[in-house]
Symmetry: C2
Subunit: 298 residues, 2 copies
């Protein structure tokens, strides 16, 4: 259970020392909100937007945080808090959270796919997070699905993320609007300083906007192919779809994904054993996963 919460912007530009100070402030606020003190805390878990080692607490290279290379986040934070700290990749922790406390409860093999600004993922096999030889496993969004497809943030072409992330959705919508395609999105995005949020996507779909429906059908198509590919490689019991976009659109959005994925399964035996379901922990998946990790390893 979550007994207290606090939230702060990362402000990566102030550098690791400054960010750690902000994390310490947030930790103190969260503990206060729970009516506790830091000395009541047994261990701390933290997720980083980067490959990271739970063994050493080092954050390797956060692509969206300039200058964050080989930062010993676990050690820095552990000294300030005088508590054991375990560090992991944030999406791994989201996957672990959903596995232990959310949609994946009770299964032992699952893949988490998180659709937001990017498309991240995590793997659980035999009840354990698969971190990989370089702590880089689970990046299912960066599998190429169309070799000559649109440019991805990672520099490759045609990754799943280049089709299915909120960033990709916004790119498609902007291109269509620029071509003069009529859509409620022209107005809805203006209200939002021109950003296409997950909420706006939902609003446009609810109004049966033709452009939004078409763009999201393409997203479902590529996520369905991804799910099919993951089943043929891993054959998990469950694929859990989470992240802002999925959260906003709900289980109904997954039905076409299931319909596209299922015929892709090479083995058509026991197809119903593979469940494709929405995440249930929302924004809390990562912190709950961090708590699970801290409890077991901290």
């Amino acid at each position: 259970v979550i007994v207290g919460e606090a939230k702060k912007k990362t402000k990566a530009e102030i550098g690791p020392e400054g960010v750690v100070a902000r994390i310490v402030t947030a930790a103190n606020e969260a503990v206060s909100a729970a009516g506790l003190r830091l000395k009541n805390v047994t261990a701390v878990g933290i997720g980083a937007p980067s490959p990271a080692s739970p063994e050493t607490g080092i954050v390797f290279n956060a692509p969206n945080m300039a200058g964050w290379i080989d930062v010993p986040l676990g050690e820095m934070l552990g000294q300030k808090l005088a508590l054991p700290v375990v560090v992991d990749n944030d999406v791994n922790l989201g996957t672990l959270g959903e596995f232990v406390l959310g949609a994946g409860k009770g299964c032992s093999n699952m893949v988490g796919v998180f659709v937001g600004t990017g498309v991240g993922g995590g793997l659980i096999l035999d009840g354990q997070l698969v971190r990989g030889a370089r702590y880089a496993a689970g990046e299912v969004g960066h599998t190429v699905i169309v070799p000559d497809g649109p440019l991805c943030g990672c520099g490759k072409r045609g990754c799943v993320e280049a089709f299915a992330s909120r960033t990709a959705i916004e790119r498609e919508v902007r291109a269509a609007l620029a071509e003069g395609r009529p859509s409620v999105l022209a107005d809805l995005m203006r209200d939002d300083n021109d950003r296409l949020t997950s909420g706006t996507i939902k609003q446009a779909l609810d109004q049966n906007d033709a452009l939004m429906t078409e763009v999201m059908a393409q997203v479902q198509y590529y996520l369905g192919l991804l799910a099919g590919n993951l089943v043929n490689i891993i054959d998990p019991e469950m694929i859990v779809f989470g992240g802002g976009v999925i959260e906003a659109l709900g289980d109904g959005f997954l039905e076409p994904i299931r319909a596209i994925a299922r015929p892709c399964f090479l083995s058509q035996r026991d197809v119903d054993r593979i469940r494709i379901v929405p995440a249930t922990l929302g924004d809390h998946a990562v912190v709950l996963g961090a708590a699970v990790l801290a409890r077991t390893q901290g």
Copy 2:
């Protein structure tokens, strides 16, 4: 070590009872060749071209063996031989063989990719074969890489197998020859009753045949993308490429695959830790994997 060998055609069309009788004959011949008798044997391992359960010995559905659905191969063979028999998918066993006794010796996470008539695969994580919720894991050849690509034997379009298998290579070569493209393959394939064997592929490449070189560069491209995708999902220590095509062409054939795969890795940290290597056991990978399984579980 292999102390005795015997080989027989499967003759799937005679049905499970008949095939089991042929396996028993082959087993007796192999034991004789080793100067032993069946009572000297401790356990038997067998690979099936189908998803199969090592727990129950049931072979679920062999796509290339009509009528082989839910065949209790382990039980049938165990009764005839009066020995413990363990059954698994043949490519899983090939992967296990390479892992324990071949190219993967000493690592703990690897993916096997076998390029022959089709493109099969197997996964080892944390030293264990990953079989999947339905014994269907490791089918890396049936991941879609070009959604509108050529038809695959599995019914989908644009699977890796539809680009990189010997069957796909032969399709491309035939199409080019039919269009009147000049190539030494026109003659070489005639010598072989029009079949394009792995040996013929090598011969044509050795003669710097432009058509063969072009077709194989495409194979390398798609296998490179597959390797990149597998690294981003699994982050294994090693990808072992085996099967008839790779065996015929050797390590030189893998260099372009490595060159295509590496820039695809999302994490560019410790890129050299991911080794992409040829299998070393050749035809013996599956039987050696079967022996390993029989020793540990039989």
